[in-house]
Symmetry: C2
Subunit: 320 residues, 2 copies
């Protein structure tokens, strides 16, 4: 028991004893077993994080942010990637729960019915991030994808563009894309613009390779387009590269805007106008909220459902 106290930094161990313990630890190469500790104390120190994919700098930055803020209290992250599939998410939730995480962080607000049920039955706090579902399971840290695109349309209109198209947002799986597309359509209507024109993309993950073909198709279908908003920066960069190739000047022939403020958007030529979402910030905030949610609240009084909205901003650069 004294060893346990010494190793866990409790101060009710005399300096002399602590010294003796530490030198024995050193000599024996003793390493504390947290699994056993978890079993006994009923605290695993794990927080589960589910993201659609590692290969998206937005999500990996978010994870890095979460990881950083949790590390301060010695919590470990258990990451899983769903591959944008709700089925896989459901399955992962079950697996994760077997590790007895103290909290669960999910990307997005759309889950299978069974997953929702499982999560509600569980006593661990759940935080959904990135989206803004109307009825979150518990806590929420995110932003409205629709509102952000609306802002972007408004900004383009303010700059004098009228014929504005949108690339992205198919009807399968990626609810973030669909939400963004809805924002676009709503804005076109609200602002009284002549016409909405959407070039849909296939299933996620959306990437650079999708941009080129999409912009070519747009120019065939609606040659009068003056500006286009892409569902993600990667797609926008692909589009711009194709414009170089086709010798369509950006922005004079066609203005291009993206979403996500990926690093490349600051260094591309032309630099890319985009919606900045500050992923590290979302991660840090989520981590901090999780610490509050899992902290020692008086048994009855668990943290009331929180709804944090992370501010976004439109960043105008050379491409518009």
């Amino acid at each position: 028991m004294t060893v346990s106290r010494a190793l866990n930094g409790s101060n009710s161990v005399s300096a002399a004893t602590r010294e003796k313990i530490m030198s024995a630890v050193e000599e024996l190469g003793y390493v504390l077993d947290l699994s056993a500790g978890a079993l006994s104390s009923q605290k695993t120190g794990f927080i589960s994080v589910l993201i659609p994919s590692f290969n998206n700098s937005n999500f990996s930055e978010t994870v890095q942010g979460i990881s950083e803020s949790l590390a301060s209290e010695g919590k470990q992250i258990l990451v899983g990637y769903t591959g944008y599939s709700q089925q896989r998410e459901e399955q992962l939730i079950d697996t994760m729960l077997q590790r007895r995480p103290e909290g669960m962080i999910l990307t997005g607000g759309e889950h299978t019915a069974r997953a929702c049920q499982t999560l509600k039955k569980t006593s661990v706090p759940v935080i959904e991030i990135w989206d803004m579902p109307a009825q979150p399971i518990h806590h929420l840290v995110g932003f409205s994808n629709a509102a952000m695109i609306e802002d972007m349309v408004a900004r383009l209109v303010f700059r004098g563009y009228r014929r504005i198209a949108f690339i992205g947002g198919d009807e399968s799986g990626d609810f973030r894309s669909i939400d963004r597309r809805r924002g676009y359509e709503r804005a076109i209507e609200t602002l009284g613009l002549p016409k909405a024109h959407v070039v849909p993309l296939g299933a996620p993950p959306i990437s650079i390779r999708h941009g080129g073909p999409a912009i070519v198709r747009l120019m065939q279908e609606w040659p009068e387009a003056e500006a286009v908003i892409c569902v993600s920066d990667l797609c926008a960069i692909g589009a711009i590269m194709e414009c170089h190739r086709q010798k369509w000047d950006v922005p004079s022939r066609l203005a291009v805007a993206g979403f996500g403020d990926f690093e490349i958007s600051r260094y591309s030529f032309p630099t890319l106008t985009t919606v900045s979402v500050n992923c590290t910030e979302i991660g840090l905030q989520t981590g901090n909220l999780m610490l509050r949610a899992t902290g020692k609240t008086t048994t009855m009084n668990s943290l009331l459902p929180q709804r944090l909205v992370i501010p976004h901003s439109i960043i105008e650069r050379e491409s518009t």
Copy 2:
């Protein structure tokens, strides 16, 4: 005991009993506790993975590969990022070991002396990936960064370039960069080229933003340069963007090559010549090796140190 067997898929449970158990599980919302199981069976099902950063698609693809191949045996990954710091790596190793992972995967072959000691004392198999240290701790899955750059120089020479520069490789921390730079210098000498010219970059992570300034500096210092190899694709893309801006045609004024075959390199304009390293493959191979290393080998006969070399290839595109 019968419940345990039923839930772990052992087949020595009658169909009737299993049925009864499953319906009780469903009704009670019972979830197996793997922590307790781990304590009892001395198998945690964890594999630790340490990478320098999540925000590098090479590393995240590798992790995804590892994760996939381990999932087939129900192993969970415990990821930590070192931020390119050996100190942090040492500390992370200690933390990870407290979770009793069945194996440990490290990125790179350079560690603090204490970390090496700790790892050698541990009985868990260690796999170092990405680099080719002369004296690996245990197993190795990687490629020689130096050899790959040598190949690239040779290819450029074969295409008729003679005055070839290199961007990257400072002396602090990122041993992969340094290794690549050495490969460059060796190749220049071996192939009898007129001169080696290196534009060093600062500490990692190296990214798109470093490319522009570096290429400008190169053109000031050595205007006769015909081609340049960048330490990473991101840096090369940054350089190409700056060339657009400066109206230096790529490749006729200056050919540019990268390293890593990031997705953007296939869709940039011009598309980028690069060294392809197949990160998913390295991940899958590493995962499989780990399964063999942790598998039930006859007690005495643990797996002999393996040294897997993942083949690389030079991919020539428009930029050279």
